[in-house]
Amino acid sequence: MRDWPLWEVFVRSRRGLSHVHVGSLHAPDAEMALRNARDVYTRRQEGVSLWVVPAAEIVASDPGERDAFFDPADDKVYRHPTFYNVPEGVEHL
């Protein structure tokens, strides 16, 4: 008998912040995964909301394609405000 499936756990630490990946756990189904996540990852008031996602359902980018995926953004410096010159004394810009 194989182990229960793996689930990835995301916690919203407080209202106003997004859910952040905190780790994973094993659970037989979604209901139990959510409850296990509560018991494993929020014992010290770390969260106000939880997501669990079957680890097998996550689609991840391939590190081998990292160059093609992410390098083209390198030379688009005009997307960042620091690219632009603002005359001295001009505010709220």
Partner: protein, 306 residues
């Protein structure tokens, strides 16, 4: 970026990156052994949950042993990012093919042992673990950040237990001293064999898995612990401990590593007992795990049909 460049720049290796087989194998072995230590480590302290001498201590101890379960869980999860299953790792533990820290093969004979484990064993573990928060493998490092954050109360509660005992009745004080006498040398062994007898250390340091040598960490632990023992009013069972002005460190006696190797070989006081307890829990729980899987499969069919 390739593996060597990443390490050269003190970058972090992440699960799907290419990595040398040896690096992966070393990490799996080390993380698994670390995880096994956490869950076997539940037993010596768990041994006193039912007998904790106050309700406050009982609550603290339950929360602490629960944390060990959590730490084991975080670590198994980190190992699983390297393409192994927790079930397989547990199987290797249960069949003796993977080890756990030898310190947990010593018995907790008195309540003071719970204090000594918190103060000395968790203290040594923290010295070992803090550098692992900067380990080159991202998931291991992140798990260790979480573990270290949670562990900070463990050492303090152990110190507090011993402090209370050493300032209590003569019988309590004797209990505290006895525990420290028994746990001091095994705690020093937790840092592993001496550097010139530690074959894998150099490679682990080059890979950024290990940041400091066994002997450096052992020295750090001694330097940290000696003044704490003075604050407790307890004696460390080593007549050779004294401050060395020249080195800027405490000198201490020679650790008897034949004892460590004996325990690793399986001849510690509790090796069989610890493993039997773990295997027993796993086997007794098999019907529960199978039932939950069967229910999940039935539910999936029902939902599919609905």
């Amino acid at each position: 970026m390739d593996f060597d460049d990443l390490l050269a720049g003190d970058g972090r290796v992440e699960p799907r990156d290419e990595m040398p087989d040896g690096y992966r194998r070393t990490l799996v072995r080390q993380i698994a052994q670390h995880a096994h230590s956490e869950i076997i480590g539940m037993q010596p302290e768990g041994n006193w949950i039912s007998r904790a001498p106050s309700l406050r201590r009982k609550a603290i101890l339950m929360a602490k042993v629960q944390d060990e379960a959590g730490h084991g869980l975080y670590l198994y999860a980190a190992a699983e990012t390297l393409g192994v299953d927790r079930e397989d790792l547990l199987d290797q533990l249960h069949t003796g093919r993977q080890k756990y820290s030898s310190i947990f093969n010593y018995p907790t004979l008195t309540w003071a042992d719970v204090g000594a484990i918190g103060w000395l064993v968790d203290g040594a573990a923290i010295v070992n673990q803090v550098p692992l928060c900067r380990c080159s493998y991202g998931p291991y490092a992140r798990a260790m950040v979480r573990v270290c954050k949670e562990e900070s109360f463990h050492q303090r509660q152990g110190f507090e237990i011993l402090h209370t005992l050493s300032h209590g009745t003569p019988a309590q004080r004797a209990m505290a001293q006895d525990a420290v006498d028994r746990y001091w040398w095994p705690s020093l062994m937790m840092f592993g064999p001496p550097d010139d007898d530690s074959p894998n250390s150099a490679q682990s340091m080059a890979w950024g898995i290990k940041r400091f040598s066994n002997d450096d960490l052992r020295q750090r632990f001694v330097d940290m612990t000696v003044p704490q023992a003075e604050a407790l009013g307890l004696t460390l069972p080593d007549p050779e401990i004294r401050w060395n002005e020249e080195r800027g460190h405490y000198d201490f006696g020679t650790v008897d590593f034949t004892e460590l190797f004996e325990v690793i070989k399986g001849n510690g006081p509790c090796n069989q007992q610890r493993l039997a307890h773990r295997v027993g829990a796993h086997e007794d729980g098999a019907w529960v795990r199978e039932a939950a899987s069967a229910y999940a499969a039935k539910q999936a069919v029902r939902e599919g049909a609905a």
